[in-house]
Subunit: 363 residues, 4 copies
């Protein structure tokens, strides 16, 4: 028997089982009334995707991975207004509905639209987590009116490729830390998110920014993006080095950008009394708060965690930062692949070979 | 041989060694230019003093204990303006200098006046910690202009006795939690500070306040001070009970008022995504943050610790709360002793006998 | 000729011309994919509706007036999830879309969904302004998922009737003022909104609340809702009276709840240096800021205006306040009318006869 | 008759009468217990001093003018700790006591130490206002421990000369405006304070900064300090130009840096709904708020005024900004004079001749 209508099909990187993300074929998705179908022109791989690949973060078999789309509107849902087909857009990694209790409470990343109370941990993270993602020829953007952000003609795909996740997350480390003009800030781990945290700290007026890592390229990149000082933690205890660099005072804000006990604990130890630990890392085990580092609970400290802020207003602002020329993140794109080659891209990226920071994937 | 001038002497409760705080005699202190000598009319014992008694928190031998003075100005330092001898006053448990970097940075409890950088963990806590305290006939108040707060004639000593510490600390649990009108709040442990946290949560507009403890008198006191619901954690897992009471949503703010792993962890577990744990307890060992309770660092959560806010402006506001009749904390005073009987008072209070909440000590 | 299908019709209070709002018949509205049709069970008249009646605020002829609906879901749009027909609900006077740049920027009342940039002054106010309102048998709620808030069974219509506007606006006067525990607050003009501002100030922990009006019933109502002191401005300059009551200090926050030069200017004059004027009134002419009252621009003062916050999360919180028993606003309902009698209700309300505060209208 | 002890004398610029500030001789001041005597090495003239010169702002006859000292500690009061004689320091234009209710309430510029309630409009501005100022060979710094900020060896006097007033005030325009990453900001009037507001807006992450003035040199200086766009208001209505530049949206924050009805009103008119007007100017007459520009009070707008933040922590942070190299304000120093020539300096500066921005005065 034959199909009466040939359904259009597309290529997509799908999760098969731990250790295997493969390029496969799927139907191009149907467009619901609130959705937009976006033809992906550039996307990338995130550290979180590697967690998925390794089976450390569970997703459904057959799910398309990826949450960082740059593309062109192919088709708009019947109830979507304010956009036109053919428009260049991005959508954030986190796609809030706009109408959940969480969204209306100022906590859109924890959107629980559909739950009775409207809050769900990480509920706003849908692409490549609970719905098909962006490492494909087409991606369906839910709640399009809340999530599609037009890209000005003057900007290339690679210039805005970091907006959906890396830049939004990294900046939020500075924002949630409440950085003020004149602050001293330490950033622990200088992968793409840590580097964006450095850039965010500079954007918010920190005047002593200390980057912590071991990889010379990353330390150099941190300096270019705003770090005043860098600490190589193989050359001695980073806590001691930072306390020496701050003349014994400690920092106002420490940003954790890796997700380990070591970075978390060091970040806590370098805080001045009253300082803030802004945590961005994805942890994979319980954390320990040493009594002394926590001043027994009497230090007027804050520990703040932030999931990547999304939504079209956030994207608009980040695009504005790029357009203003304040920051150029294109040097973070160290390697480029076609979608056809995505398995090779995962191989390179997951093994952190060849000094890779971010890859650009073009369908 | 005789002393040429008889130095006036006074009674004071001093720390001798772990397990021993005794009533002793000491010289009435000399008054420096910025100090005020206050004749204590009422004071009290704090849970922290019991930590000192037990040797769990180290202080110098011979130090006078106590940080909650109500009294009358006996003598003003030569540079002190704006007060008169004979005026009824209180001073906060924390006595910021006003002029440290920490004070001028909005972090007065961590006052490090005298340190090079101006920040010192718990640096603002001086009474009964780094200088002689209030369980005595006289107490010397440092930086008097920043710390003495007049008491209106219409208020009794016992009405303002909780202002210096219990009320300031308890309220700060609500304040640091950022409670907003309509919030759901859980308060873990309903000793004097937890009870004041309940009262503070109500004052700030929380509309579902859940008190957690086991002692019936404390649960009843919580209800009187504003708890809408109470949870006895001997009758089942408090986390489950609170999740049921909030219909699966969790609370916006959880206040920890004891200082144990159990209360800390439970407070974390009952938070809605995006919620805040406001920690008041004095911990005595490392803390563990369970991965799931922390949403692997992706839950947009905050953990905030607060040391009792001090200074005369804080005291003025708390006295205003008392004077307004919004809250009556005098029922917390369950027992009364003369200063001569302070050893018996410590005995009662440290063993939490006879339903004691707070004692009033009158020299 | 006959109509092929009889369209269901309903009664509605429509604006005809300045001076005339009449009860008329209209088709029951069609339900779009994001809408909900609500059968109104109780509604009310707002001071703003009187401005419309008088022609002071222009709306289209034929528009149904009213923005405070309590009712039952009659029909849900095809894309609306999370609700069921027959459910009791309210919707706020302001109905944000949830997906505009303004909403996602934390400024939902200025929703400009549909404009290029997403911001529009008062754009979130749609009911009885840019779309048909609630003084009718049925009202169409736009962006239903962002706006419908279920009403618990235990609460009557009149208990939640103030949530959509009066309570939300009044409380926002306190919230935008940033009231803290221990603040001194003055509220100028004690109509329904000013009374709710008094209640909001008390909910947030103000401890000296001064109500200002001339009508004895309003001054008495203010005392019941939380005012510690009242000032009758016919008995002398209210600024002088308030400065005397605060012992020359002035208030931390002054809330303006009328919309006149006199109340605005007096509110500015009673502020302490560094204080905040929180303005709720709808003004009808230019305002003047006297140089001295403004400390020539050097007083660290703030003037903040707030349009009624809406959306289902706001409504949920206000319903929570009512359900908690913290505040009972039902005494504000002084008169009751059937929808059939709405012209008489306007007559009474617009002339402020018979001590009217709020009317309840039941279709 | 002869004086038994020759009192050391010094030169100082004193106010004689409107129109006359002259160089005179005075005794070097005595040092009280909380004071520090600072030998001035560099100071400057502020626009406020010109208001004093013209008699527009009244001060006592014989008062030494000036509030921007850079110098060396000559002598410390008996109760002053933490400094040493010979140390290079600055003090802010505003010298908070640290111990007033205003200081402890987070409102140090309105310090009313000595008043009963602790608040006084502009109470923190003492130098050249209520006590002798800095245009002299020596200046007495009150409450030295709260106000003296050490200057690192690597920085010249001129590098830190703007910290006490211009930089602190200008930055505060951005800070009080609550600028966030990605904001659009307009700055009205580009004198020294407006230029520092531009720099502050950039430091805080604004990405579209529009400077408004007419003087080409000032527009050019604004571009160097961070303005992305400039508007010459002689070439057309600045409101229209800014609305065109922002594509009809308006700005998130408008900073007023002159103190006139025109700049104030234009700043209000270019705000997006929900935007903030941050006012720095010193006004000399009543202001008018046009009804439409104010959205009749329904636009969720804020008007915020800020007096220059002072105190040693503020100075420390600003010195940190200079030391970090983020901003170089030395080009603002366009002319240099010896203290002997200060009358000529006033003549040049008050007439805004020769493109003067700031003068450096060296005793």
């Amino acid at each position: 028997m034959r199909e009466p209508f040939a359904m259009p099909r597309m290529k997509a990187a799908v999760f098969v089982e731990p250790g295997r993300i493969v390029l496969d074929e799927k139907p191009v998705p149907d467009v619901g009334p609130l959705d937009a179908l976006v033809r992906v022109t550039t996307t990338t791989i995130c550290g979180t995707d590697v967690h998925i690949l390794k089976g450390e973060y569970p997703v459904a078999r057959g799910l398309t991975i990826g949450h960082e789309p740059v593309g062109v509107i192919e088709k708009l849902g019947s109830a979507v207004e304010g956009y036109r087909e053919g428009e260049r857009v991005i959508a954030g990694a986190i796609t809030p509905s706009g109408h959940s209790y969480a969204c209306l409470c100022g906590c859109a990343s924890q959107d629980g639209a559909g739950t009775r109370h409207g809050f769900k941990a990480m509920g706003g993270w849908r692409f490549g987590n609970t719905i098909d993602g962006a490492q494909a020829e087409y991606v369906l953007v839910p709640d399009a009116m809340a999530n599609l952000s037009p890209v000005p003609d003057g900007l290339t795909d690679e210039q805005v490729l970091m907006c959906p996740d890396i830049m939004s997350t990294g900046f939020s480390g500075a924002e949630s830390g409440g950085i003020r003009i004149g602050d001293m800030v330490a950033v622990f781990a200088l992968g793409p998110i840590g580097l964006c945290a450095v850039a965010g700290a500079k954007l918010m007026g920190a005047t002593t920014i200390i980057g912590v890592d071991t990889v010379p390229e990353r330390l150099a990149a941190a300096r270019r993006l705003g770090a005043d000082l860098v600490v190589d933690f193989r050359r001695g205890d980073p806590v001691e080095q930072i306390m020496a660099l701050t003349d014994g005072r400690g920092v106002d804000v420490a940003i954790e950008a890796l997700g380990t006990q070591g970075t978390f604990e060091s970040a806590l130890r370098v805080l001045r009394p009253g300082g803030t630990l802004s945590s961005l890392g994805v942890y994979s085990s319980d954390l320990r708060i040493p009594l002394g580092a926590f001043s027994a609970g009497l230090g007027d400290n804050r520990i703040v965690t932030t999931l990547c802020p999304g939504g079209k207003e956030r994207m608009r602002r980040l695009i504005g930062v790029v357009a203003s020329g304040r920051i150029d993140l294109t040097p973070l794109v160290t390697h480029r692949f076609r979608l056809d080659e995505i398995e090779a891209a995962y191989d390179l990226f997951s093994h952190q070979r060849d000094g890779v920071l971010k890859v650009a994937i073009t369908p």
